[in-house]
């Protein structure tokens, strides 16, 4: 049976001539997945990097050096800034362009309609772009993925297969951690084979959390094909005008301080008082204060001053926020959901304060202080005053 879908397209993001790290990470993961895929299925499908912009032709070669087999680029003044509408249109054109697909693999000329898989970054650009592109392509999307596996899946599904048993070959299993961090959901994008409403859903697409996958080392010897795509630009898709761009400095600084004190839902018994305790502890250590994602959703009532200062997305340590490699990391009342652990695991020395010895954070720290922060922190502060401020002074 001829297949109408081949290859893995990776939508590249770049700013001021530099790739965003996540783009190289996506290519690295795409390369690993397709190498396994090609050997398992004795196939020769390609990692295809898609890059849009203005004066970007020279960047294409670098994408090959980072692991892409093919680069499709669109170079046009109207693509200089990222604007959702025109970017959505051009990426969708590329994904359905027969000529480009034929050029990638002349052997299959005329047979291939669309990519089999598609990757975007799960960030301020890629999240929305993936949503609109996949709406334009009328296919499925899973967001915030942190593990990918390709497998043949046998299943019978009331809706998808009409109850009969079917094999979905080469299916991308897309794993995403849920909001709690304790559950992992696998999303599949599957064609409807149910005779009542048959429909193909390709590409199988996802957005990928930055920082999860490793990029490959740049290798100037790597070779590949570079294809230019001339976009069809409709005036109506250029209605958004960018008036200005201003870089803002965050008030929260996780880079400079050597110590970070973070807290999670464990402050809940006395949130106001506990956050003030943590504030004191941070002050003694000259530390910045971080939080877990649930805290940014403001689960407790505290005074407005503390609420506005601490229970904000900008302070989140984890996949939805910052990653730190502080010398000393103190996690108070943090259970240790995987999203948070991702953000702090590169720290030097980790101290956790938690009454529950079964909390997953226990496996991620060097010292686990079993106890309530209400009791532990005052003692810590007392000791720090005796021992540590001397070297800080």
């Amino acid at each position: 049976m001829a297949e109408n879908y081949r290859h893995l397209y990776v939508v590249i993001e770049h700013i001021d001539g530099e790739f965003l790290q996540v783009s190289l990470e996506m290519i690295g993961e795409a390369r690993r997945l397709l190498d396994d895929f090609n050997s398992k299925y004795s196939s020769n499908e390609k990692v295809v990097a898609v890059i849009l912009g203005y004066n970007i032709k020279d960047m294409s070669k670098q994408l090959i050096e980072y692991g892409a087999d093919v680069v499709i680029y669109s170079d046009h003044p109207e693509l200089k800034d990222i604007r959702n509408t025109i970017y959505t249109k051009v990426i969708s054109q590329i994904a359905q362009d027969k000529k480009t697909l034929d050029e990638i693999e002349p052997l299959y000329a005329g047979e291939i309609k669309r990519p089999r898989y598609m990757f975007f970054a799960a960030d301020s650009i890629g999240r929305h772009l993936s949503s609109t592109v996949l709406t334009e392509l009328e296919s499925g999307l899973a967001s915030d993925i942190n593990q990918l596996v390709i497998e043949d899946i046998e299943m019978s599904h009331q809706q998808k297969t009409g109850g009969s048993k079917e094999i979905y070959a080469k299916t991308l299993e897309m794993y995403r951690p849920d909001f709690s961090g304790f559950l992992w959901t696998t999303i599949l994008c599957l064609d409807n084979r149910n005779p009542a409403f048959k429909r193909d859903y390709h590409p199988q697409a996802c957005s990928i959390i930055p920082g999860v996958f490793e990029p490959l080392k740049q290798d100037p010897k790597r070779e590949g094909k570079i294809i230019e795509f001339i976009p069809k630009i409709d005036e109506r898709d250029l209605r958004v005008k960018i008036l200005s761009r201003k870089v803002i400095q965050s008030e929260v600084d996780f880079e400079t301080p050597r110590t970070i004190v973070s807290f999670g839902r464990g402050v809940k018994d006395e949130p106001e008082q506990n956050i003030k305790l943590l504030e004191q502890l941070a002050k003694e250590l000259n530390a910045e204060i971080g939080i877990t994602l649930p805290i940014s959703k403001k689960p407790f009532l505290v005074s407005q001053a503390l609420d506005l200062k601490y229970m904000i997305p900008d302070r989140v340590i984890g996949t939805s926020g910052h990653k730190t490699s502080a010398m000393l990391y103190i996690a108070a009342g943090v259970s240790g959901a995987m999203q948070h652990v991702w953000g702090m695991k590169d720290s030097g020395f980790v101290v956790a304060i938690n009454p529950d010895e079964n909390a997953p954070i226990k496996d991620e720290c060097d010292i686990f202080i079993k106890g309530r922060m209400e009791d532990v922190i005052p003692m810590l502060i007392e000791e720090i005053r005796k021992q540590i401020h001397i070297i800080e002074a």
């Binding site: 700013i15 965003l20 790290q21 996540v22 959702n84 959505t88 301020s124 999240r127 609109t132 996949l134 709406t135 009328e138 296919s139 499925g140 999307l141 967001s143 009331q158 299993e173 849920d178 909001f179 709690s180 304790f182 559950l183 992992w184 696998t186 999303i187 994008c189 149910n194 409403f197 930055p210 209605r239 958004v240 008036l243 200005s244 761009r245 201003k246 870089v247 803002i248 649930p294 959703k297 403001k298 689960p299 407790f300 904000i312 010398m327 000393l328 259970s335 995987m338 020395f349 101290v351 991620e364 010292i367 686990f368 202080i369 106890g371 009791d375 003692m379 000791e383 021992q387 540590i388």
Partner: protein, 309 residues
């Protein structure tokens, strides 16, 4: 036709010249994550049976953004949601915030199990059924339970509206029918950027979590108070504004909604496997002052050891 200008009240002239503004908000009923309402299972996962439901916090911010249009431009506000019959609670809460005059609930067993694409199809069809042609449609940043953030942009694209994401403030010029908006762009590894954009209406806005309305003049604050009072009155009698639509009443294509209209399925849900311990924790009794003393000594060592390196 010739108007006798003197006989027409000047505000009316303004309205004739500029036209009215129609805004809609799409919202979601979500688990209430606030302390006392949320319940977790012993393994840390959400206990959905015990946990109460409420208007999602990001939906609430979107409703505030719509209320800004009400105060500033005398906009007409409509709200739509897809969900079970009890989602009327979320509509009422959002009406209290936004002073909406029209509340839509899209509810049908056929819609159940939809992914974001199947949901967007329902919402798009519903928005097109609202009174008046929409100029701005708002959605929240993302739902607190699903957390995909896809439904907003997908609905916007289906409507054919210009999509503006992560909007932190906006203003409309009613005369030129243009909107100016500021967007917050956060990318890993580079500083945050605020981008100011301009676009003709209609637009679809997904509102940033940091959005805050500000009313600077006395007359704006007076309108704010007036409409807030009106909103309270309306929300008390929300049923007067409330309408339920099933699949047939909406006139949706049944193969584009619910499970048939959903490319993706949840294949499995598992507990995140315990990662192999990356560190070997020493367990310390938190009530033992002597031990805490040693912990601080270790902390000091960690801080100074690294400095030397």
């Amino acid at each position: 036709m010739v108007f006798n200008i003197k006989s027409i009240n000047s505000e009316l002239i303004l309205l004739i010249i500029m036209g009215e503004l129609n805004v809609a908000v799409i919202i979601k009923l979500e688990p209430d994550f606030s302390e006392g309402n949320v319940s977790y299972n012993p393994d840390g996962t959400l206990n959905r049976v015990e946990t109460k439901n409420t208007l999602g916090p990001h939906s609430a911010i979107a409703a505030h953004a719509a209320f800004y249009a009400k105060v500033m431009y005398d906009a007409k506000v409509s709200i739509g949601t897809m969900g079970p019959p009890m989602a009327d609670l979320a509509l009422q809460q959002a009406q209290q915030i936004s002073d909406a005059e029209e509340l839509h609930l899209y509810s049908d067993r056929l819609f159940a199990g939809a992914d974001t694409l199947g949901t967007a199809e329902v919402l798009k069809t519903g928005i097109e059924k609202m009174q008046g042609k929409m100029d701005i449609v708002f959605s929240g940043h993302r739902a607190s339970d699903g957390e995909t953030g896809q439904t907003g942009p997908q609905t916007g694209w289906k409507l054919g509206f210009t999509f503006l994401g992560n909007v932190i403030s906006y203003n409309v010029d009613l005369k030129t029918r243009m909107i100016r908006a500021k967007r917050l762009i956060s990318l890993q590894g580079v500083p945050d950027v605020i981008e100011e954009v301009e676009a003709p209406l209609p637009v679809f806005i997904s509102i940033d979590p940091t959005y805050k309305s500000s009313f600077d003049t006395v007359s704006q604050r007076l309108s704010f108070q007036k409409y807030q009072k009106e909103a309270t009155g309306r929300a008390e009698n929300y049923k007067e504004y409330f309408k339920v639509f099933d699949a047939q009443q909406l006139g949706v294509d049944k193969t584009l909604v619910g499970l048939p209209g959903s490319p993706t399925i949840v294949y499995k849900v598992e507990k995140v496997p315990k990662s192999t311990a990356t560190r070997q924790a020493e367990i310390v009794d938190g009530s033992n002052h002597e031990q805490i003393k040693k912990v601080v000594a270790r902390m000091k060592e960690a801080l100074s050891a690294m400095v030397i390196k």
